[in-house]
Symmetry: C2
Subunit: 263 residues, 2 copies
């Protein structure tokens, strides 16, 4: 059975069954009914996993918890051997570089800004996630924080070139991350080690930001930046919660990330 047929079948089940799985009602962010495996979907089916990834990247999927089991190998291949993730990041950088040029020369007052997220935007945690199921394992704060403390994240090469290009054009670089103030030293050490220099501001979660969603925290920080006079021309992040909210940048750029979701 082709995945197209499986999907149509699922849709028919969703559309017509009165005995629908409770998961569908209570957790629409759980992407598929748990009885999907009973439909004997071919686990190697990249057609479905491509569609799933698109649903994540367009924010159609809304909140989602983990990579669907049948797509774990697909995500591993996407992030690595296929070269697709690298290509996708390179094209985001092309888009953003073109936009930064179109905005012409910034004013001389030092208030023309670009905002960059850090994890999966400037720095890559792929070595960590490759060892933890590419987003299929439940997220473990403790082991991830230990990884971040090592300050060994590689740069995403296309992002480093974009960062340098935006900097060369005269924009102020503002790094806005969900990492905590306690991680400031490790984060600075990591950024410098892989080639990021000369940012204007590095904003991390302080004590008053704990417990806020990324969407709220990052929107508040952008608002404070605008109140201080910054004009936020561009924003790059791998999560929609890096980009959406009020205020938004003039142009927002969604970096790819099919491994995890942050609200």
């Amino acid at each position: 059975m082709h995945s197209g047929e499986v999907l149509i079948l699922i849709l028919i089940i969703i559309s017509t069954s009165s005995a629908i799985s409770p998961d569908i009602h209570n957790h629409h962010h759980i992407y598929l009914p748990t009885n999907l495996e009973a439909l004997q979907l071919d686990r190697s089916d990249s057609l479905f996993c491509d569609s799933w990834r698109l649903s994540v990247e367009t924010n159609n999927a809304g909140e989602w918890r983990s990579v669907p089991p049948m797509c774990i190998d697909y995500v591993g291949n996407y992030m690595g051997a296929s070269g697709q993730y690298s290509s996708d990041c390179a094209v985001v950088a092309l888009d953003a570089a073109a936009a930064s040029r179109a905005l012409r020369v910034p004013a001389d007052d030092g208030m023309d800004a670009w905002v960059f997220d850090i994890d999966e935007t400037l720095l890559s945690n792929l070595p960590y996630y490759a060892a933890h199921g590419f987003g299929s394992d439940a997220f473990d704060d403790k082991s991830f924080d230990e990884w971040a403390e090592l300050a060994e994240c590689p740069a995403i090469p296309a992002s480093l070139r974009l960062y340098q290009e935006v900097q060369r054009l005269g924009f102020e670089l503002i790094l806005l991350t969900g990492r905590y103030e306690s991680q400031r030293n490790a984060t600075i050490k990591n950024l410098l080690a892989v080639g990021y220099h000369g940012w204007d501001r590095l904003i991390l979660r302080g004590p008053s930001d704990i417990g806020k969603t990324a969407l709220v925290y990052k929107s508040e920080k952008r608002m404070q930046l605008e109140e201080q006079g910054y004009r936020i021309h561009g924003s790059c992040g791998d999560q929609w919660s890096d980009l959406f909210g009020y205020p938004m940048a003039t142009r927002s750029f969604k970096m790819p990330n099919p491994m995890y979701y942050i609200a």
Copy 2:
């Protein structure tokens, strides 16, 4: 040369060249420098075209005019033989159906609404575009209008099921299209012929809407609907200009469309 290397090379050129193509400065929505072909990119390279399509679907590409020449065959295969477009549409419908269920039972006042775009959302113009280069030919108003007047667009099967499911749940269905009032009869004839029935409102561009961008026109119409008391829970469209603007629906669903862009 792999496309990854080509992209890095392009990025290096963009990043360092002072003799950059004027296209980059003046038309950042023209996706690639016109001298790309001089780089002898393999036209069959699906890695780049996959990345290009993602840039379109995430709105990273911003305004764009036509499918890049090296991706015309890719887009044709995506829309047809590969089955990927059908699969992608089916997953959008799954996402939206799950969201409509999560919103539970609408109130009894008949004001809980879902908004659907028509072209490439409920109805498919694929037969037309397949005969016109899959979005690589310049858009021709006259021949497209002749096609629309035939009222022979097929339904997108997954969208028809979604429409029926949202209807079954008790939501009001509002069709909001960039088509003109002069096309009302053909549009109704086409919708009914392929199975769409029982919509609450069919909103087309009237005389006062001519010349407005889709973003402005559709936002104004959503505002008027809210002023009339409608609660817009969901919105489905193949263009970001169907979804963005103020007010937005509670949940927005981006249908795939790598063939054309509407501002």
